[in-house]
């Protein structure tokens, strides 16, 4: 009984954090223009991938957060879902095989995942006929977003480390 309650609590915690991240991303991007460069759902997918180190929950988290993101976007449903699923899996695989405790490693990983995410979404956009801009502007956007996400990701991971150390 106690185990079941713990499981429900854990699932609830994940669900709330996923919804909160998508909602906060939408509101902050609306109120603060520069926030359009950040991709909180992506950072959260990588964050859970690294910290859990388990591919199955990371895939479920990536799928859920991607679909939530799609529902408020103008891309076909499944575009961000596909991308975030893959990123969740890769982050979890990397998290279980490599040392991702170094801030530099995390920053580089988030940067690469951001560029990869943009690349996958563009490819899916071309395949489904919903591609947005192409060319040098898009590449530039990916790079800028990669830097922004890497910086924010480092802050979030740093905070997580401090909380974890304080608790242990």
């Amino acid at each position: 009984m106690k185990n079941r309650i713990t499981t429900y609590g854990l699932v609830g915690k994940f669900a709330i954090s996923l919804i909160a991240v998508v909602v906060i991303q939408g509101i902050l991007a609306y109120r603060i223009r520069v926030f359009g460069y950040f991709d909180l759902p992506l950072i959260l997918s990588v964050y859970y991938g690294f910290t859990l180190g388990r591919p199955i929950p990371s895939v479920v988290i990536g799928t859920t957060i991607g679909l939530l993101q799609d529902s408020l976007s103008n891309v076909p449903m499944g575009t961000n879902g596909f991308s975030k699923t893959l990123i969740g899996y890769l982050a979890a695989s990397a998290g279980s095989k490599f040392d991702v405790d170094l801030p530099v490693t995390r920053a580089i990983a988030i940067f690469l995942f951001t560029v990869g995410d943009g690349f996958i979404i563009s490819i899916l956009g071309l395949m489904t006929g919903s591609a947005s801009n192409s060319g040098i502007d898009v590449l530039w956007n990916w790079l800028v977003a990669g830097v922004f996400n890497a910086l924010l990701g480092m802050l979030m991971f740093g905070y997580h480390d401090r909380v974890t150390h304080a608790a242990s």
Binding site: I24, D39, F50, L52, I56, D70, N74, S96
Partner: protein, 281 residues
Amino acid sequence: MRTVIASKKPAWITLAVALVFHTLLLSAQTSKRFDTSFVRVWLLASLGPFEKVVDSSVGGIENIWRGYIGLIHVRRDNEKLLSENGQLRMELAQKSEDALELARLRKLLDLQATSIGKTVVARVIGKDPSQGGQNMTIDKGSQSGVGRDTTIITRDGVVGRVIASSDYFSVVQLIIDSQSAVGFIVRSSRRLGILRGTGGTELEMEYIDDDNDIKQGDELITSGQDQIYPKGLPLGVVLSVGPRQGNFKVVRIRPNVNFGRLEEVLCMTDHLPEVPAGQAP
């Protein structure tokens, strides 16, 4: 750092199932064999209330802060407003006379008073959570008569159209979105064409060759030929007529609406096919 050691279950099976699910979902939308819009509507209906609550809280805090800062300048502003008020009263009296004269002339010409149609005011509660996306979420849905392809405007001009709506929330595609296209007429020369969003802050004209009379400063209005936006709504102003790139010229347009400062919008739930001149909000 990791809280749990790696799972021994075959993770790649879960990954494959998830990717196949997304591929099927994408394929269903592309081929239009199955209507998958219910997934988006259901998720929008679930996320909308959270977005509205958070937006209201953030807006409330912002208003308190602005109110506090505003008090600092309130006296100076009050004096300025009193002076403006006197001037406006004079102008209003003059305008009232003009309005009465216009009504008399209309009656003489047997013209009926017209309007842009039925509209609903909606509040913007969020923006596209995807990187570079040009959509926004509003707090009105099918319960208020807002549905797919409902035209969204402000008093400055066209904002966009609804692409998905649940009972109480809708997602709006802005005209600056790179997938958006709007039919236009140049107000002075009556030339027809198509405007496309750039994904940035501007619009671009499509298929403009050398044989055109479009010039900087030309005003554009909707043509109504796209069967979505009613004719006669202000769109924007020609910013520059650039050099030829390939077969066509690059003509950049500055939209009338400031998309960075949208708070309230009007949803045209029922409108005439053409908005009469001078009646645009």
